[in-house]
């Protein structure tokens, strides 16, 4: 699918490529902050540098006055780099304030990015973090003491598995191991991966394949809800205290005693088509069959009666 770039993205890219005034291609000499992110191996690399106006007393009050980048990457990576530098220069931020610029801000500045390309904006934000870290070291600012924790950017590199949330194979594998994730649902709950379009669940190299690779193909698969038939036979704590025959008989007795007389008053009747474990398949007949409230009747009258009289786990299914 061809990429759908916004006009703004295309404009920034063209300006940068032609070196028009006001663009930020290049490198600051003797930078106060330098950050790199990505590598040629993964197809995107960004070297980000900035210069600050040094505050005479408090380095925390340094203000970024110039930002530049060198980027190896696609149209949107270059446009995202341009966007990052422009946002920073125009904002007159201190390095610590600049950390608040997120990939969302970059995407907004670019007037949107195709979802497959969101990782380009992440790259800009990651390079900025690295540069701020570098600045802090040079200026003796203790970021940890300020409650700012800059994370290793390694997770953003690698094959993207979940396109909707730009989550990579190394990241997902690490999370699967760290958090002992065993099912796709667990991965989605922990990382969001596979939570939107769900296409990556069962494709080659998708979430199920990552699970199988890490835990082995014999890994516990998503547990099926307790199958109805097994309720009777296996689940020990859950077992019926009577045989399926007795159980069926009890249900018929309850029907004859409590339910049928009420239905027959309205010209209707009911047939038990089948019983599987605690699932009772019932078919309304006569006047009841065409009644708009048939579903209600089953739930409120019949299921409730059976729960009260026979077993509270009973579920009635309308046939």
């Amino acid at each position: 699918m061809a990429w759908e770039y916004s006009e703004k993205t295309k404009q920034l890219f063209m300006d940068a490529v032609h070196g028009r005034p006001g663009t930020h291609l290049g490198e600051v000499e003797n930078p106060d902050g330098l950050g790199e992110h990505g590598s040629i191996a993964c197809g995107d690399a960004l070297r980000f540098t900035f210069r600050v106006d040094r505050h005479p007393k408090d380095p925390k009050k340094d203000v970024i006055v110039e930002a530049k980048y060198l980027t190896f990457g696609c149209t949107s990576a270059i446009a995202a780099s341009e966007a990052l530098c422009t946002i920073i220069e125009e904002g007159g931020y201190t390095p610590i304030e600049a950390l608040k610029i997120s990939n969302d801000d970059i995407v907004k500045f670019l007037e949107g990015l195709p979802e497959q390309k969101i990782h380009c904006s992440v790259m800009g934000a990651e390079a900025l973090e690295a540069a701020v870290y570098n600045w802090a070291q040079k200026r003796g600012v203790d970021l940890d003491a300020l409650g700012i924790h800059i994370q290793s950017p390694e997770d953003a590199e690698g094959r993207i598995v979940c396109k909707c949330f730009s989550l990579t194979e190394p990241y997902l594998k690490r999370k699967i191991k760290e958090l002992n994730l065993r099912t796709i649902d667990e991965i989605t709950n922990a990382t969001k991966a596979g939570g939107a379009c769900m296409s990556c669940h069962h494709v080659p190299g998708g979430l199920q394949d990552l699970l199988d690779e890490i835990w082995g193909a014999a890994a516990p698969k998503p547990k099926a809800p307790p199958a109805p038939v097994e309720v009777v036979e296996t689940a020990a704590g859950n077992a019926l205290t009577m045989s399926p025959y007795q159980f069926g008989k009890k249900i018929e007795e309850a029907m004859d005693h409590y339910v049928r007389p009420m239905l027959q008053k309205d010209g209707g009747d009911l047939e038990i088509v089948d019983i599987k474990g605690t699932l009772v398949y019932a078919h309304l007949k006569g006047a009841c069959a065409d009644c708009v409230a048939a579903g209600q009747t089953l739930k409120l009258l019949i299921e409730k009666t059976l729960k009260d009289v026979v077993d509270e786990r009973i579920r009635v299914i309308q046939v």
Binding site: M1, H202, V203, Q208, V273, D274, V319
Partner: protein
């Protein structure tokens, strides 16, 4: 000689509007939709529009739930093999004995690969028995695959009810329906009546799009491995460069089908009913297969006892009338129709079955012509039949006994 085409369940003619819509993508917009340049974007956009339209016509929530394939057979293969691969802990499949071979044969192959398959029987009218269906649902069941409308008889299965019973019994069981004969002819609402359906197959050439394009609806989150791998197309769920002109044609054909559904349904149903009543009146010893069941409005499957289908088709063809038969001689496999056999149609009548299937391009004149020539065709063959008493114009008294041995 004018051709009267009454074999629309086999394939349909391409609608002129569909052809028109496809032309730009067969000529100047030939680009690979995955390419980067601006021109390629119009190809990619055409696919996106088609996907949106199809999703809307079928009532699907998200266009990404529509996957383009090469035909309904591929869609069915993907649905059955893909779900079996994605759910290795379950090994039981439920289907019916009257499915199209694109489901039936795949299920038999799954059997060879270690799955258990329940082939549900049908009654003499072609209906399923609901309590037999309920009994077939097991804790090990991974997939239920049941067609919406039968290609031979037109009998419609209650997919809304079957899928609901399946999901209420166990939401992990996947429900697939082959809707090749019904999409465009019957209403399908995947967020309405069909909200319990996980997978739905159909193809273009049954609704006036060309051959070579199909689709598979996959409800979001349904575990199903791809059948074709080797590319990123369709989010990696169906590899292969997209067939842009045919995808555009499919969307156009479906839009025509849906827009004209009500009007066409009434008119085509009237044509079919008139054909059915007239033939029943004019020809002794006939039976309409599936008569006692809900049926597609366009399909008439009629059996003439003691004559052979191919002989009828041959004579119809001489009059320019195109139809098909469930007889062994016409099947390619020399096996009589498994569908009519499942309906317990006697051998004498299975071989003498003819299927007329209509479309919006059929007229009153077409029906008049069939009514005019078909009774004589049957009479001609009966004159030659060893089972027929020409003097009395009825089967010989010992006819059934003579045939009895064949069972």
């Amino acid at each position: 000689m004018r051709i009267i085409y009454a074999d629309n369940n086999a394939t349909t003619g391409i609608a002129p509007e569909v052809y028109e819509a496809m032309i730009p993508y067969l000529t100047e917009i030939y680009f690979n939709p995955s390419s980067m340049y601006d021109s390629a974007r119009s190809a990619a956009n055409a696919i996106a529009r088609a996907r949106n339209d199809i999703a809307r016509y079928l009532g699907a929530k998200d266009p990404k739930e529509i996957l383009f394939t090469s035909c309904a057979t591929e869609s069915n293969n993907t649905a059955i093999q893909g779900t079996a691969k994605a759910n290795p802990n379950r090994r039981h499949i439920i289907t019916t004995s009257v499915e199209h071979p694109a489901v039936l044969e795949v299920c038999k192959d799954m059997q060879r690969n270690g799955c258990r398959v329940t082939f549900l029987p049908v009654d003499g009218n072609g209906n399923l028995d609901i309590s037999t269906f309920i009994r077939a649902l097991e804790s090990d069941t991974l997939l239920v695959t049941i067609m919406h409308a039968n290609n031979e008889t037109g009998v419609i299965f209650p997919i809304e009810r079957l899928s609901r019973l399946t999901k209420e019994t166990d939401p992990s069981i996947i429900f697939h329906t082959d809707a090749t004969q019904s999409v465009g002819k019957l209403p399908v609402d995947l967020e309405g009546d069909f909200r319990y359906v996980d997978l739905l197959s159909f193809s273009g050439h049954k609704l006036h799009a060309p051959k070579g394009i199909g689709a598979l609806y996959i409800r979001k989150g349904t575990p199903c491995r791809p059948f074709m791998i080797g590319g990123h197309q369709e989010e990696g769920r169906r590899a292969g460069t997209e067939n842009v002109p045919y995808i555009v044609g499919l969307a156009k054909a479906l839009s025509l089908g849906v827009e004209n559904q009500k009007e066409e349904d009434e008119r085509i149903r009237n044509l079919r009913d008139r054909l059915e009543t007239s033939l029943e009146e004019k020809i002794p010893y006939v039976q309409v297969n599936g008569k006692g069941a809900p049926r597609l409005p366009n399909t008439l499957n009629i059996s003439c006892h003691y004559v052979e289908g191919e002989g009828m088709l041959y004579q119809l063809s001489a009059h320019g009338i195109c139809a098909s038969s469930g007889s062994a001689c016409t099947s390619g496999s020399l096996e009589p129709s498994h569908v009519l056999r499942a309906l317990k149609v006697p051998f004498t009548a299975v071989h003498g079955s003819v299927r007329f299937s209509l479309s919006r391009y059929n007229s009153d004149e077409d029906i008049d012509r069939i009514i005019e020539v078909f009774p004589q065709i049957v009479a001609n063959l009966r004159k030659l039949s060893p089972y027929w008493d020409n003097k009395e114009n009825k089967p010989r008294p010992d006819a059934e006994k003579m045939i009895g041995g064949q069972e």
